[in-house]
């Protein structure tokens, strides 16, 4: 039934836009839209067909075909499968109209595609680099871009096997350990030229730069990059009128390591431990999203028991994440470390489980294609059971009693940092941020993956869209996760945990796949393009921590500078994922 509707819808869409064509490459899906029709197409899709949520914008470099492609993944906030559309442009001069007028949430993603791929987005309000610095040479995700000490396009590298020889990176560096400044360079005198571009983003008034007398009350304040409450090396440039925020721009990339380029050099298997390092609080759900995408390409599924173990680990991770998110939020509010350490206490017990199962507390590297790395070792199931049935609910209630009615917490969070439902959707906000604004959108329910369609749970939703609701919704979600875990404990079957023999060199047929999970921080997507080789051709992470920042400006505007830190805390970002 649903499929029929889908086909019909597509024809309707095609009738409406005779210029578009179906993407009929093998292993691909969706539509190819001519660039000049893109903006119209996206807005009609949003307004008439209900695809109001632009999940991800991804650039792909098809070097052999001499073409650049931008892939858009659109979904309906009412649920259901997605609709993918693409534009193809010439590789030498890739220009694509910007979708920011239709979906402001495309802002940071388009900047990322410009930064790393060199695709120019016309009419983008603020098109400049986002993860790298202004002045960086080239666009590193282009297939013909090579880094210093380049070894090869794909691992395994020849230098290691056969005939291994140890060469340290610092030994291949011509400057070795030399950290002298070049002659004539005085760091004290140096002002980075790119700062102008950063300040332009918040609309710095030119005359404010040179004039000694203040001609208006507005000043620019840099919060970060080394700020104790920015949750990592993250910077916010804020323009203030008195104490009130007029404009804010997030500046990031200090932890950038081009995870995606590394991922395209890696074999499919090698990427699993690398995904651990994205959002290092939630390595289990990062693994989950990535293996889902690759499993889609491979056309395999894990056995029953593995499915249950996956859900078990993913939900435990969610509890860990939400506990720490609440703890850090309270830190940001000035309740220094007592709530955080109470949250960490429970986290420790859950990490004990991760350690026993996967071998590591945080870098779990536990999911495998069509399975998980190993079965639960002896005693672990009991551990999970005791924790879930006899401890966690009580501890969550404790936290609830501890904080929810606290007058100071309420005064500092209620009605602050409000994001309306419309704004949240338009800015592609996901996860607790979206749901606290009154949009009950949860990938586990809207577009179930794994075996989530079997569990009974409520999609938590709150309606004020302020910090307080973003705090409450995390408590709600912990309770729902405990509910899911109870069902997992009851239903988990015996059996194998891996389909087929584990292989270190998996065969992945050519094609594209988008795997997404409801990570604790929101929708975490992995877009993988395979060309049949051992390394992915394109590997893109739709990072919730990154894209949720598109809405930071809206959330902070017209509130006080003192609230900015707690608003940031309520989004719950991890810089490992934001900067990738």
């Amino acid at each position: 039934m649903s499929e029929e509707v889908l086909v019909e819808e597509k024809t309707e869409l095609e009738e409406r836009f005779p210029e578009i064509s179906r993407d009929d490459r093998k292993g691909y899906e969706g539509f190819i839209v001519p660039t000049e029709k893109l903006v119209e197409f996206a807005s009609v899709l949003r307004d008439e067909f209900g695809y109001d949520f632009l999940s991800s914008v991804t650039g792909v470099d098809y070097l052999p075909e001499d073409r650049m492609e931008v892939v858009y993944h659109a979904y309906q906030t009412t649920g259901g499968p997605g609709l993918f559309y693409k534009v193809q442009v010439d590789r030498d001069d890739p220009v694509v109209p910007s979708l920011t007028p239709v979906f402001p949430g495309a802002n940071l993603q388009e900047r990322e595609a410009w930064d790393l791929m060199g695709i120019r987005f016309e009419d983008h309000p603020n098109l400049k680099r986002v993860l790298l610095w202004e002045g960086f040479e080239g666009h590193p995700l282009r297939k013909d871009w090579r880094e210093p000490f380049y070894e090869g396009d794909g691992k395994p590298f020849k230098s290691r096997w056969p005939g291994g020889e140890v060469i340290r990176a610092e030994d291949s560096n011509p400057f070795n350990k030399n950290v002298d400044y070049p002659g004539g360079f005085d760091p004290e005198q140096w002002t980075p030229a790119n700062e102008t571009a950063v300040y332009a983003g918040v609309g710095r008034l030119d005359h404010a730069v040179s004039e000694t007398a203040l001609s208006n009350d507005q000043i620019i304040v840099n919060l970060g990059p080394q700020h104790p409450s920015t949750h990592g090396v993250f910077r916010m440039v804020v323009r203030l009128e008195g104490e009130t925020v007029v404009a804010l721009e997030p500046v990031m990339g200090y932890l950038h390591r081009n995870h995606e380029k590394i991922g395209e050099r890696n074999t499919y298997l090698m990427n699993i431990p690398f995904t651990d390092r994205l959002d290092y609080f939630n390595s289990m759900s990062n693994n989950f999203g990535y293996v889902l995408a690759v499993e889609k390409l491979m056309g395999v599924k894990p056995p029953e028991r593995a499915e249950y173990i996956r859900v078990m680990m993913a939900e435990l991770t969610r509890i860990v994440n939400h506990l720490t998110a609440i703890g850090f939020l309270l830190n940001d509010l000035g309740a220094f470390f007592t709530p955080l350490l109470y949250a960490f206490k429970e986290r420790e017990l859950i990490l004990d489980i991760f350690e026993a199962v996967s071998g590591s507390r945080m870098m779990c590297n536990y999911y495998r294609f069509a399975g998980v790395a190993r079965d639960l070792p002896e005693g672990v199931f009991e551990q999970v059971k005791n924790l879930v049935l006899h401890r966690l609910s009580g501890q969550v209630d404790d936290l609830d009693t501890f904080l929810t009615d606290n007058e100071i917490v309420r005064a500092r969070t209620m009605g602050i940092g409000v994001l309306t439902a419309e704004e949240a959707i338009a800015h592609s906000a996901v996860g607790p941020v979206l749901r606290a604004s009154g949009v009950p959108y949860d990938v586990r329910r809207a577009d179930p993956y794994g075996i989530y369609d079997r569990f009974e749970f409520d999609v938590a939703v709150r309606y004020h869209g302020d910090i307080y609701d973003r705090y409450l919704i995390r408590l709600d979600e912990i309770r729902q996760s405990i509910r899911i875990l109870e069902q997992v404990i009851q239903d988990i079957p015996d059996g194998p945990i891996q389909e087929g023999k584990p292989q270190y060199q998996v065969r992945v047929p050519a094609g594209e796949a988008y795997g997404r999970v409801e990570g604790p921080k929101g929708e975490l997507g992995f877009y993988v393009v395979s060309n049949g080789k051992p390394n992915p051709w394109r590997y893109h992470v739709r990072a919730p921590s990154f894209i949720n920042l598109s809405a930071l400006d809206v959330m902070c505007k017209n509130y006080k500078i003192a609230d900015v830190v707690s608003i940031l805390g309520s989004i719950d970002i991890v810089l490992g994922e934001t900067d990738r």
Binding site: V166, K345, I408
Partner: protein, 216 residues
């Protein structure tokens, strides 16, 4: 009255006091039973369990949390020791670990026979740059000969990483008995599988011999 200002604050402070008291109550309970909650294995175990209450910090380095069997840190190489005390590396220098290692931190030099120049299935040298190793455990997972496994020793800081942190074969090698001691379940499972495989091979060989005999 229900909305008395400060009630929520007081309620919260109640939770803090409860946490504070719980720790001492727990300590007193242990004392009254004549047991020690700190610096004993039993005490650490109880502080790790789900029904622990109060603060359960472990005072490292005076106390250490026992690591679970699957815990992984840096890989090590296993060698067998026979009755005469001779050692034999399990590693055949097949190179799979070097190929599967995500940060590519394993380098292997193969041995070749000095007379014939043909490769011998044994590594001449085996290096792991443990500064780069990301402790992922994939090498141990995919080694077909169970020759490389993940160690439990996590206290390996040195003052000079440039000299000390490229581990060679000598530094990496551990006897199989060490492996059996840190990972007993895994060891037993692998040994059982090996015995089974050998028995199957022997049975096959016996059957073949029998067949060829009866054929004659």
């Amino acid at each position: 009255m229900a909305d008395m200002y400060g009630k929520g604050l007081l309620k919260g402070l109640g939770v803090t006091i409860k946490h504070f008291m719980d720790t001492y109550l727990e300590d007193i309970r242990w004392l009254s039973r004549g047991k020690h909650r700190y610096y004993t294995a039993e005490g650490i175990d109880s502080r790790k369990s789900f029904d622990t209450s109060g603060i359960f910090t472990v005072q490292y380095p005076e106390e250490r949390l026992p690591v679970p069997e699957e815990f992984r840190f840096i890989p090590f190489l296993i060698y067998e020791v026979n009755e005469d005390g001779e050692t034999q590396d399990r590693c055949t220098s097949c190179g799979i670990c070097a190929k599967v290692c995500p940060p590519q931190c394993i380098w292997i030099e193969r041995t070749s026979d000095p007379d014939t120049g043909r490769p011998v299935p044994e590594p001449e040298e085996f290096y792991i740059d443990i500064d780069i190793c990301m402790n992922c455990g994939l090498c141990a997972e995919f080694c077909p000969f169970d020759a490389i496994k993940m160690d439990h020793d996590y206290e390996i800081s040195v003052y000079n990483r440039l000299e000390k942190n490229i581990f060679n074969k000598e530094r990496l090698s551990r006897p199989v008995s060490y492996y059996a001691s840190i990972r007993p379940t895994n060891y037993a499972r692998e040994e059982a599988a090996r015995a089974e495989a050998e028995a199957a091979k022997a049975a096959k060989k016996a059957a073949r011999e029998k067949r060829s005999k009866s054929g004659k």
